[in-house]
Symmetry: C2
Subunit: 432 residues, 2 copies
């Protein structure tokens, strides 16, 4: 009998219950919030035609190299999706009669055949929320309101850093970067990582002039409360596009105030790596945490869908939640729980009571309480160590005595306390 070496492919993971349960909980929390805002779920295939995935304006060169590619039996060229934005653009394009605004969320795994670094995987969960068809900044504010509610819901200490691509372009115009502004923007995006001196060096290495670089750094040094930052930056940014960006930021902040989104901070260096953003951009960071990568990010991309359709602008804005860093953050703060099971009760029949215990187990389940019964006929101590190893919080002992009294003996596995209770009382206790 040939034995197979059992191991995982590189860069992918199994999630046993102790990890899957809290991950599932995060996803369910997020789903609940998205739906409160009237966002509906969609699902698209994991497999798409390679030409759809590889469209030039989609993920950009770097991502295209990382597509898992293969052919089907009919020799059609296919690939695994690497994000959920491309499939959404496809869905919007293929369904021209979708009512606007199209408010959708989508939570699915995506794949990237890239280098494995700390915290990077080849298969990971993507979680996107987008509004398609609305130009007004109120759409972006709704997205930020969802973000705010989500992280508050997870009891995290966070800040949403916000910027605007039009304003960034305006800053670049002021600095004198002209047509090379995208290059400069990508360097500036590293400010948080490499500091002002690092950015300065990088910009000089890229061939920008010292005067231009000084111009930019002067603006990036602007700090303070949101209105102060805006009034400062207005002194320098004079181009139409830059002024438009400031106006958008002001509107966005105004709507956020009405929606009681209080966690917003303007960060003039925030750019986000992707080229397709056209207006507001934002990223979520934890305060006082070891985790310094962003937990969510997004922005407005008014041109991308239109490019897919060969049409003009097609307003859209959204956010992508990083399930991986969120889970890591909750783990660090010990908020993921320790349980290896969903079970809340293990029923242990004592003596010959197994068959009489079965209807009692069904009764507990009827009440919505996850319950299992020993089906291996093990002794008490083995059953207790099974309950302990899984973290099942309660055990019920059921012997002839208990059956006669129409009660069960409930043991709290943490305190060791035991009580004789009716099933109704057990259910009541566990529902508290």
């Amino acid at each position: 009998m040939a034995e197979v070496k059992l191991m995982n492919a590189k860069g992918v993971r199994d999630f046993l219950p102790e990890e899957k349960i809290p991950r599932q909980r995060i996803v369910d929390t997020l789903k609940g919030i998205f739906e409160m805002y009237g966002f509906s779920p969609i699902e698209t295939p994991s497999i798409e035609r390679l030409d759809v995935l590889a469209a030039k304006f989609a993920g950009g060169e770097e991502i295209l190299k990382e597509i898992f590619k293969f052919n089907d039996q009919g020799d059609r060229k296919l690939g695994l999706i690497y994000d959920l934005t491309v499939p959404m653009c496809k869905v919007v394009g293929m369904n021209p009669n979708l009512p606007r605004p199209f408010r959708r969320y989508q939570i699915q795994p995506v794949w990237r055949d890239g280098p494995i670094k700390l915290g990077r995987y080849r298969e990971f969960l993507q979680c996107d929320v987008d509004i398609v068809g609305v130009k007004s900044m109120v759409a972006d504010a709704e997205i930020l309101s969802i973000v705010d509610r989500a992280f508050r819901g997870m009891k995290m200490d966070f800040v949403i850093r916000v910027n605007n691509r039009k304003l960034l372009n305006g800053i670049m115009d002021y600095a004198g970067f002209g047509e090379y502004k995208m290059k400069a923007i990508l360097a500036i995006d590293k400010l948080a990582k490499i500091g002002a001196e690092g950015v300065k060096e990088e910009l000089l290495t890229l061939g920008f002039e010292k005067k231009e670089v000084d111009n930019v750094l002067k603006i990036l040094r602007i700090k303070g409360k949101n209105p102060e930052v805006l009034s400062q930056v207005k002194k320098f940014v004079k181009s139409d596009e830059g002024m438009e960006g400031i106006k958008e930021l002001e509107e966005l902040i105004g709507y956020c105030k009405k929606m009681e989104v209080k966690s917003i901070e303007i960060d003039l260096s925030l750019a986000r790596g992707l080229e397709y953003y056209t207006g507001p951009v934002f990223e979520v960071y934890l305060k006082n945490s070891k985790i310094n990568s962003s937990l969510a990010g997004g922005g407005r991309y008014d041109k991308m869908i239109g490019m897919y359709l060969g049409k003009g602008e097609y307003p859209a804005t959204g956010v992508s939640f990083g399930i991986e860093p969120i889970f890591e953050a909750l783990k660090l703060e010990k908020k993921t729980g320790e349980s290896r099971t969903v079970s809340r009760i293990l029923v242990i029949p004592i003596g010959d009571t197994f068959e009489k215990a079965l209807p009692i187990v069904e009764k507990i389940r009827d009440q919505g309480i996850p319950c299992e019964i020993d089906i291996m006929g093990r002794g008490i101590s083995k059953n207790l160590s099974y309950a302990n190893s899984l973290g099942i919080p309660y055990v019920i002992f059921l012997g002839e005595k208990e059956l006669k009294e129409k009660k069960v003996k409930l043991r709290d596995m943490k305190s060791g306390k035991e009580e004789m209770l009716t099933i109704e009382k057990v259910v009541e206790k566990l529902k508290q």
Copy 2:
């Protein structure tokens, strides 16, 4: 600007909200039931090493041809999973210290690069529940109890057809099929599709003798209540294995009775296509329905995990729910709903009340009621037709008059009835 032809890969589908919402609901219902029985979720990668997927004792020749295969950048041979049983065997093998019984459920897409027939897709959701490590028939009874509860929960009119592979082998021994019994079993498995005459013809074509075929048909004609079928079949089946199969069936039915699983019918022709089953097998069918494919199926496979590990027997039993046929069945019975959104309320600001409406919207969301507000600044009639096209059940009109009275005008979109209510009353009404 190059336009890309937007179309899906062959055999895969987009699910827009009107399909994703009811599919999600089915999955959530099933999850809830699995967890009531103390089954915990796990997740495994969609990508596995090809040698793990292609192990001879895994899916069998036919399935191996249908694996989507590709290499990663390091030229490692990989494939997409085609079921959830192989990954579970891998997990059990890689985690020898998992507590027993290991009760897990797993709901993920799987892929098969096969022919596209009606109702067959290349990417589809698999939903498996298994108990690993328990030899007793009580484990199989628990699986049937879950199945029973699930279909009752979906208000379907169903029957669980049950058989036993050991008994089937015993019947084959009685008929005289000797070492060719597996071939004969696969022919008999078609009884429901092609009828007794069809099976007879197929067996004769396969080269079995007329006397043998008559022997088998005599047994397959046994009908009646479960105890009658068992007492009839006992007259013929005398081999040790066959007797063991009958004993297992009797035990299983006994446990089911205690668990109040009433939907079980012995079907001596039921075999299930896969070779790896070793004991009880079952399939779920609808009564009085156009849909004649099974909605769920499973059984005991005591040898498969052991083969992966190069060890002996390793008891396991489980069920796989067919999300696709279940969804089709609910659609036929018009139980999937008509909604294209999760939204329950659309707030329409009248005049210049948009900003004042925002905190009200947030208040409704705080109460857990999915609510959206017009963010496109459209007129009343456009907003009403948007609500209609999505099937949003309620609309709130909010003008200066309403703001002054601290009320809103709630319109029931179905009846057209309008009421002036406080937000508290609206929430109360929608929570009913």
